[in-house]
Symmetry: C2
Subunit: 264 residues, 2 copies
Amino acid sequence: MVSSLEHEAVIISGTEMAKHIQKEIKQGVESWISLGNRRPHLSIILVGDNPASHTYVRNKIRAASAVDHVDERMICNGIAPEKDVDGFHIINIGRLCLDQHSLIPATASAVWEIITRTGIQTFGKNVVVAGRSKNVGMPIAMLLHTDGEHERPGGDATVTITHRYTPKEQLKIHTQLADIIIVAAGIPKLITSDMVKEGAAVIDVGINYVHDPVTGKTKLVGDVDFEAVKKKAGFITPVPGGVGPMTVAMLLKNTLLAAKKIIY
Amino acid sequence: MVSSLEHEAVIISGTEMAKHIQKEIKQGVESWISLGNRRPHLSIILVGDNPASHTYVRNKIRAASAVDHVDERMICNGIAPEKDVDGFHIINIGRLCLDQHSLIPATASAVWEIITRTGIQTFGKNVVVAGRSKNVGMPIAMLLHTDGEHERPGGDATVTITHRYTPKEQLKIHTQLADIIIVAAGIPKLITSDMVKEGAAVIDVGINYVHDPVTGKTKLVGDVDFEAVKKKAGFITPVPGGVGPMTVAMLLKNTLLAAKKIIY
């Protein structure tokens, strides 16, 4: 699951962890079917994209840009909450925020699984969540600060939520205090090594495509200055191969949970 | 609304502010009725208490203690969300957490109104919320960290959520960084003057009954060492006469909002 280099952070392989979880899910699916149940089926409603017709897509994008986020919300709420494997239905958001069992947004679930399966302690620890999006930052903050004894156990951590309007020097003060930094801001190299406490866990949710001056091509990077931070952190997730594959695994896990009607 | 003493914090009178808001609500009710509408009516469902029969109460308490918080949740969800003036229905919680218009729990609303009506800046500021309860700490943290441009505008502050498992020395580190401290922990003198940054705003949500050695009687105190902290803070709310009367005012405001069907 993890590989260690001398004087460097344990690099958590989301790819390996995801393979492990997918094996667990596969076993779960097989034993579910063996009891006479139907195979779980994931349907995807893709809004605002259609590779079949580029003109259609352009028209849809034009139409979509004329309406606000409420319509996205209407679509999320239009799905039955017990089948809402993205965890975006208002009932799932409400249940998550009340520490009840729910279908949890896959990225937040991925971060939670990475932390707990790696054995990183959260109880009474300082956590910084950089980014306050409703499908990533907010649910992560919710999972980590809440009560470990509630219906859906939380991390019992002290959680600081930062965002675009957190002054950079204040972000640094907070990250320097953090035992765990979770960054989901969409800003390459937002987290540099001077901002990280020795031995801290750094979970990188960022997905950024940047120009690589060495190869001249576009490459995928996260929000963390990986090469420098890995020399200081205790644990770090790479991009790619960290949170990304784990998010896919957790979406599949949600599909199994929904099929088995475990939550509702 | 506020009174200032030399070298001391502005003491925010929740009582005065609440009177002001109740006057606003009264005007709102009168103009609502003058348009031919029915007078707003607040019904209270009191769970687990009944002054008419003490035996009945004891039996109910015994019965209630045998069941868990899920039943309390069922009662909250049993009220129509558009009439849920406490803001505890899952739909109202979900909408609050998604920055949508909702009926907001009155205490959280009271803290928000105290801060904004006093003119205390929140944008990019450090806020500590001590206490993570679902009807107080959580919604306050939600209101303060979220986007000022969303449907239900938030405070755009950097928010740290602390709780019973935050080590005391870590709480102090965080409160010393805070421009605004909101304490809803139920612990007398949890916040002492050494924990407060010069000029910070201190909002005390605590309600504690303690023995007064001077009078020999029981008295009401908050979670803040008021006499010492007021010499260092820039703004402070007293207990009693701070958040309490404002909470009552915000419950009435929610009643008017519900009657006028403004949210739904």
